[in-house]
Symmetry: D4
Subunit: 253 residues, 8 copies
């Protein structure tokens, strides 16, 4: 149950359309579904505005399906990240609604997609190999109710690829800049716009890229103001934070 | 000249209150003031929404005053960070308007303070030693036109200090969570709210804190969604990004 | 032979129920069983209160069985950690008594289980992926004669999962807190109780988790007093130390 | 107010020696004393069994005195660690009761020292340069009500220094082993006893000691079971944890 | 004696203008001047094209003067890098010809400056704090006989500062790009030109800049082809390599 | 289209051999070929003097063929690095002209090979295991129009192997020195010649070689002047930079 | 040809048993056998006292056989380290004399084994998992003509295993101490003897052992004088150095 | 009392020149002199062949004098390393015999210097800044009874400096090679001789030298067989180990 749904329920009580008992029962439900191996945080949508997201990596397909079932029933909206093809196959067998985003390595289930907010989240990436991370960010932002525009393979070694698309970048409410290797893209982008830039380092590279640490350190030391950073390859985290920010932009002050 | 001022100027042209020549002259000015040792980016306010900020550390007091003078003349608003007492002394002698924020190690100059935006930026810190970084964030957010609420010394080893102030935290538009040592504060805070949380690791600690790296790594690995991170001790960067986000919240969609 | 057995033997001598020669023979036995590739420390139970534990990783199934046989004969109690399914299979074929704890990756053999001590060791973990490490700790503590209570998936991103089980945590004599990623659980737990907390970082995470180093550093820098730390993924070490501490609690002062 | 004092108060209520109102007033007191720059956790003694400890490093002498005054009034017992001579001087001027432990870099204030518990905490260190850390551990354990025995300069390069004092080590309830450089002392000690060993790495060394990281890593990888570790130079943490463990040993099961 | 001088000497022999004995004496001189604490490599000019350069840091002023005297007598050209003001003072007292380049922290002595080669070495730096390193590169390249053009404070957060000077950059034979923090400047520059770019990371920054490691790693992982890197703050090395390259450009093929 | 081709086209216009319209059309072509997953930088040859190079690692064979086709059509020259046998197989099926350099892990396509420049690039490597990296450098330099001489297995543990081939090394215009383990080769080589030395650390080694970091650090700290460094295993980057330098040497000043 | 053989040859010349021409031919042979992919250092026996050793890892079986054949023909003695079973199989097919030391992962070929020197090299290891490294050291020392005594599984967690074998350790000329995890064995051993101790860290361990770095750092920081260290897992290097030292001990002064 | 002295004493007993009681008294003396802050290991000479060495760094001058007095009385031979000028001043006032080796930062006291052993220890260093470490090694080896030859400033950037002194290096029994920066000297030296080479990395360098780690890693990865390594700047350790090895060379087999 999202905050919006909770407020609607309380409004129905005020309007005499439901009984206090019925409302009480809803809020009395324990904020946990104990599955033995996991305690599903059923309270999260109310608290955070989006149901608990399932991190597929390291869970068996059966475990993922079990947790997904609990969230699906209560919320009608599920996001599973870092799925292997095996996870995707089993999820699609268990849920008709399951959509597998292959490059993004995500599965989504939506009873009714969320209404898109007015602003735009731009997802940029520096190279072709950064696509899985960029797509994870894009799919996350999309399923959380945001319009997403993608601009891929615009690394700083060929500045005209970025500068030629400046309008798209400048009109976005929030920008997610994904890059591996030296991770310079967010600095250059942030120097050009006044909107928040979320930088996502990727593990793309070899040798002294140290599995993405070089890009991470570069982004943390960005000489451009307003860049914030998430963990290496954490496309989901960037999409989630961008959605939280974009939600602010579309709320009435 | 901020974007707002530029738009006002163009509206005056449309309204016939100024000549095209006068407008042209304003935009023709070179976007750089070359001081020899520095190229002041006089175009930054128009592009980013706030004039270039002076990083005091490593500059002589005379250099800081020179750069400040250029920005002050054009913009009527200056922020100098990481100042030593010597910088502050010289700046106050050079500018009547200079205000020294001692704990924050900042000097601000404002001809007319910016109108405060509707939202609130909450600045939390875990311990007393994190104050300079937290104050740098607070002063930055304040001078950029935001209302700021401070909640200090609320580290996770005494959860009731945080939980007892939950209302303040939950009503904020954006939260800046500053912590050294293990840096757990942002995770706990982010689990409790639906708003963006910007985490600032500090170099507070010793031994295995590795000058703030432990806190930085902890924050990057936060199990709570929506946390983004800036460099160790980078209160300014957090305040700047928080202001950009809060600005979105107060724009009309 | 455990210290208790040794004291019993000496008491029997004092009571005239055995001869000095018989006692001498027992203590004259060399404190080593030389298997060529390993020197089994047969003296360890007398010195440390529990027989040598077999670290399965990197040993062939045959080697593990050989060492286990020596300890089994003398002590009637064997703990093998970090076993692969292949180790477990061969051990179960060699010993009827062998029990395979699959999630914990341990095999135990007990002629007669130890009497449980009065106190309780609570084993907490932050996420589902931390289970193997938490179970290794739990199985170790259990086979060493302690009552164990498990509380899993109570990471700090959903504080109510932990706070709702505070009684269980507060009644424990010793607490083992297992967490990967930013490793904040031990700090929060230790702030709530007056008992010793043993923190176990896990290698759960990716990117800047650096194979568990982020969690390890976080725990070493805990702002809560009384937290001590073991190696990444070292559930066994935590269970062992917790048992030593709990043994103190149940001794007469 | 310690747990013992709280229970005494409640017993007095049950015995009719005080009124419910008086008791209520005590518990109603806010668990925080807000000093502006710090929120003193006045609830900590009740929750953790010992009042909040003041970490002197990075605080001004005036701040330390302010916080100490609040704790002193409520608890009659104060421990300040990592004090500079200047802190010590000002504290001794402010409080007659202040005792400066110079090598330990601690100041203690005690209205009435705590009754010593039955067990013994042994504090061992490997070399002369480890003394400040070892003494911080010893002073902490002492002020928390434990008997402490010191055994210094017993590094593993001269084993007879340790083996010649084995009785002292073996009779201790808990052992704190402090060592810099390669940090091998805890492994050797833990191989010889069945009691918990808390290892404290120190920053003593040069070059590849990496400020104590070599010792820390060595201790975390100890091949001896039952060793737990605290941060580099964290004598206080070791003394605190040892006291928590020793307290268990002297409680009735 | 430089290669040019050696060839001239041999041509004079061929032309009958000097005797074989005289030439022999020159080449028979031992390639070392043994000063006790140092073995001056008097053969270096012949082998490398420039006399041995004195690294001032860690040497006493007297040692620097002694070594400088040997080189000055033989070569008439001395470069001392990393000098403290004290070194400069003593060198100027010892040699009339000594010139102190304060920002560059270098002293040069030249009997007759080298003829400038045709090409241009462009020295770029990202920020004001990078100046000492950039100047060390510029002074080194200059004293080795190259024309140098400086373009300072052109970091990627304000791209127009760089793009507005593109002609200068594109006409250079070799480019030295100096930057601290995230070190993105060389990538952007190298994407715009076909000439060799030598990247110099600086220790400018704080926190996660790790004393220049972030910039170093960024430059090593540059996505732009043709970037080579020298040690952190090694302006001298960059100037030296640039001169070697520029020398190639002015030789006849 | 390379700069040479562009200049030729413009000369043809001046000579009246083509129309302004035809020239315009050529330059009007968008500098990007958008393949969806990649934006091929078709402008690069003009800007950098060589077409975009395809980094095979992490791309599917189909993606590599698609990108190669675009470059092949426009430029008649393709270099693909870091190919797996599978990439090579598919490329050879798609293009008759494809040549697979197995040790170098490269595929090249050339309609007409470039005319060789006058200078020589010497590629040295320290051990047999460094061959793949050395060959990547050699193939890159060769396809970019340079004459290449190889000198392999000349590590510093047997100096006579290097000193016996000094003539070859000294006659080269540029030297690429490839080494793993301690990476001492470039220092020794650079001490013997006056030409630029490009050092390539390799990941050859084990234990404290840290995947090539030991060699990288060694090369960055070279005591010999004029050494510049590229990323670990980056043979391509060294070959590319060496070609840029050698091109300078063969241009008319 | 070893130095002994060379001296014997020269003595035969002096004794008139061979001609100067024959001797000359021997020394005129080029000190390299160029195999294309490798330059076998045929001079090494003369210079170092033992023929070039083949590091099998990363070479194809065919390459290993080729190199081995050259050394075998000239020297009648070959040591191949780090062989895979495949290497061993092919070597045994190629050479009747090939002996595969499975635990040590070495193959040796000896026409006539070297006469054993008088002293003894003791090889100690801490745990069963360290055996491959310890055996590599033992096989190397053995083939180089030394008597070797092994003492395995004597880690410091059970000191009596080491102390019970002190005589063996104390009578050795040189001691090789192999250990993973915290690597404390060399410190303890070196404190007990006056002979050189060569420490070999192994990659045995997990988590904070960092692939053997913890053991390496521990050994480098040993508080016992006279410990020198080789690379992680470098049993060969330790055996080689121990043999060089033992050779000194058996030379006449 | 050294082993030689002990054997002499026992021979005197056998020869009837002393009584068993007198001998017993000597051996009964406790192997420790307890100074409160230190336990002087008075047994060390007997066990290790040289009295305990005093590491001055971090000890007060008074402590150093106290420990020195105990060793001086029993042994007539004292070595204090890492002394500050203040230590030296106080030691010279306390002991007439004290000699201050300024560059080596050592003080020695010798009643009668040890007879020099036959072999030679060669101490090489790469640069002038490595002198303090090289001298510490040389002074240590000298006071332990070895003849020492120094060869300084022979870094690999000017190979002729080393190759021109090859005879000196080749005639040494043991070689100590001291180098900072890339630390390549030991590899080159070890490739040229058959004697043991002890490598000492120094903290000389800046930036990516990481306080000597680059040199340390380089030496551990040496491609030359027979190199063993000590801690960064540990000249004493190298001198000590070299003396142990040289002692072997001069013993009768």
């Amino acid at each position: 149950m999202s905050p919006t749904q909770a407020i609607a329920l309380l409004e129905r009580l005020r309007a005499g359309k439901t009984s206090a008992q019925a409302v009480l029962r809803v809020f009395q439900a324990a904020p946990l579904a104990d599955l033995g191996f996991a305690q599903v945080d059923t309270h999260r949508n109310l608290r955070k505005g989006f149901p608990e997201v399932i991190f597929g990596s390291g869970k068996t397909p059966a475990q993922v399906v079990d947790i997904a079932r609990h969230i699906w029933r209560r919320e009608g909206r599920v996001l599973v990240t870092r799925v292997l093809p095996e996870h995707a196959r089993v999820l699609r067998r268990a849920f008709r609604a399951a959509v597998f985003h292959e490059t993004a390595r995500c599965v989504t289930l939506e009873r009714t997609p969320l209404r898109k907010r007015p602003g735009v989240i731009a997802v940029l990436c520096a190279g072709t190999s950064d696509l899985p991370v960029a797509e994870e960010a894009a799919v996350t932002a999309d399923v959380m109710g945001n319009r997403v525009e993608r601009l891929y393979d615009v690394g700083v070694a060929g500045l005209h690829r970025l500068l030629g698309n400046l309008t798209l970048v400048q009109k976005a409410t929030v920008i997610i800049a994904v890059a591996g290797m030296e991770g310079a893209l967010p600095s250059v982008v942030s120097g050009l716009v006044s909107r928040p830039v979320i930088a996502v380092p990727t593990s793309v590279g070899y040798g002294a890229s140290l599995g993405g640490l070089a890009a991470l350190l570069g982004m943390l030391n960005s000489c451009a103001s307003g860049v914030t950073v998430v963990n290496i390859d954490n496309g989901f985290g960037a999409g989630y934070a961008a959605s939280q920010i974009n939600a602010l932009a579309s709320e009435k002050p």
